[in-house]
Symmetry: C2
Subunit: 350 residues, 2 copies
DNA sequence: TGTTAGCACTCGAAATTGAAGAGTGCTAAC
DNA sequence: GTTAGCACTCTTCAATTTCGAGTGCTAACA
């Protein structure tokens, strides 16, 4: 993320002006505009010369011969890199309030997506935390009636899963207790990856005549985890993309909204983001940089947040390349830290 | 739903032909087309005369002076009413297979929405069952560690909810057992509406020093039910509306997709549908008939399915007025009966 | 009386044209 | 190195024209 460019101060200033103006208007910006807008006291002709240079260097481009210039991906990249260095500490109380209210994780995340969407006017997504190394914290079997047992499984990060198991004949209280003991002593604190066939066989053996139930429980565990692994993604503000003409022609709009609805592609985005190591946890993909083809005409900003036990989730904003990066980065950092804080503050669970 | 119209057989045939052709093409259909398409051996001029009559009766209309005719809402209505009388028993195995795989209710419903969307090419929604009169079937408190208790609550329809409760100091096993007894004997089988302040006060009194925990549990119950009441709605294929030019201009598309994303309006649709009493449980709203303003240019087909204990959910299809009603109604009935069957077959739960 | 052929007419959609305007690149002068 | 000026390019938008589909009506026919 080195901002290494061989640009003169003046070129940089002009580039900055071009991008900023373009972000606001969405229209190609011409030399005359810049000449007036900035306080550099340069004529449009001079600007034109500089612009010709900038274009040759690949920072800006012309959509057609006699139009103004628009930033290229490379130009945006430079701009964003410069922004990333800055810092800010503002807070919006309204957002916080809204977030405070939600006390279940799902709701919280949904809410977060919504808040972000409404405060930025872009499309947003939030993924539920996903544990690269998840542990079983607690298992409890309970009889509901003659035929049904509930298995409650608590995973790291206080995530609860339950599953109904049908049995042919009722277990005695004593046996149930034994099973609970067995499962808890064996599985408690165990990382999910370590549950292998050998272990399962051993467990079943120890369960004796109730090996079938154990099998069912383990299936249930596997199932619970399974469902946990294809993580949930909450989205909001997908229709915001209609606000940006450059994205809202039928073709693009449909593709992007599809991606949002189907979530398949978002999953990819999340995976990619999580695998990336970075100090701040915030990443900006401009155009083709995004790991998803559908978003090649957009910019995507992602941030990861962390729960205590190695569980990580992702927040994402998808918008036009002419995104208000400054605002977005600010919002992202804020939300990221709020989520971090809330989860570390403890006790929120689904 | 009486199909009472004063139309001659020939007029009916022509109207049918017009609608069918329009459903396929989406273009206004002219007299010449009908004259060739049908096997009635009538010249276009004759057809024109009949069409003039049909227009006067309000079954069809002209978008502009010299265009073909398109069906009016009234025309669609007649057409649909005629279809509703018919029956059919075809099945698509592919669909069934897909549905078979899902064993948790949420997944099942999500899957259902997806299947329906892909088989009809319209936007679809499925709402989770919502109980007008829900009962508590089972409550169980379990200590996880010194500070946390899990409350597992099972509602009618085998819906499971759980909630983590924090306590300041650990409960003894004995006390926990007592509490469990207390809660279960008092609350089991109790309709949620009957849990009132008086009952809560009585419970707390009986719980003695642990009244606080009881309060928490009841809060949890309230909470669990709360979340259950603002029901979930799963959608799929929202982008299908882009396939129909008459809906895909920016304005409409955005509105409809927004409605799908925000789900606020869909909730209204569901409520309306559920309140309607009808023998088949299938309803067709054409244009303005829909309870939601956003959908005034669409047709909406809804069906309700039932769980055992008075819980009802809704399936919905939203598409253009020129919807393939025949196919949609068929699919709906099929899905409806499949869901009914699955839930009555028993044991599926979240 | 019901059906059909023919014709003039209407109106929207698409193609064509033209003018306006924004912006550029280049050159020559400062 | 900077600027003014000018010719040129290209998009946009509105006005205009053309084209064709479809109609309603009338008159003739079975």
């Amino acid at each position: 993320m080195v901002t290494d460019h061989g640009l003169s101060d003046r070129k940089l200033k002009i580039l900055h002006a071009i991008i900023k103006t373009y972000l606001e208007t969405g229209e190609p910006v011409g030399s005359r505009t810049i000449s007036k807008y900035t306080d550099m006291n340069l004529s449009s002709a001079t600007i034109r010369n500089e612009m010709a240079d900038l274009e040759e260097l690949g920072f800006i481009m012309q959509p057609h011969t006699s139009a103004g210039r628009i930033p290229s991906d490379k130009g945006y990249r430079l701009y964003v890199d410069m922004l990333m260095d800055e810092k800010e500490q503002e807070l919006l109380e309204k957002e916080e309030q809204m977030l405070e209210k939600a006390d279940r994780m799902e709701q919280l995340l949904k809410q977060a997506a919504k808040v972000l969407a409404s405060s930025t006017n872009y499309a947003t997504m939030v993924s539920t935390p996903m544990g690269s190394s998840n542990k079983i914290k607690f298992i409890q079997l309970t009889m509901v009636d003659q035929e049904q047992i509930i298995a409650v499984i608590m995973l790291g990060g206080n995530v609860l899963k339950n599953k109904i198991i049908r049995v042919d004949e009722p277990l005695s209280n004593e046996n149930l207790l034994k099973l609970n003991m067995l499962l808890n002593t064996t599985l408690n604190g165990m990382p999910i990856e370590e549950i292998n066939l050998g272990l399962i066989a051993r467990l079943k053996e120890q369960a004796g005549i109730h090996s079938e139930v154990v099998g069912n429980v383990l299936d249930a565990v596997a199932d619970a985890i399974q469902v946990d692994e294809d993580m949930q993604i909450y989205t909001s503000g997908a229709t915001n993309i209609f606000k940006y003409p450059e994205l809202s022609d039928k073709q693009s709009a449909q593709e992007i909204i599809s991606a949002f609805e189907e979530k398949q592609q978002l999953t990819e985005l999340v995976t990619q983001t999580l695998s990336q190591e970075d100090n701040t946890g915030i990443q900006v993909y401009i155009g083709d940089e995004a790991p998803v083809q559908t978003m090649k005409d957009c910019s995507v900003v992602t941030a990861t947040y962390e729960l205590g036990d190695g569980m990580k989730g992702t927040i994402g904003i998808i918008g036009p390349k002419r995104m208000d990066y400054e605002h977005v980065l600010k919002s992202m950092k804020r939300l990221q830290s709020e989520l971090d804080q809330m989860f570390h503050g403890g006790g929120k669970a689904s």
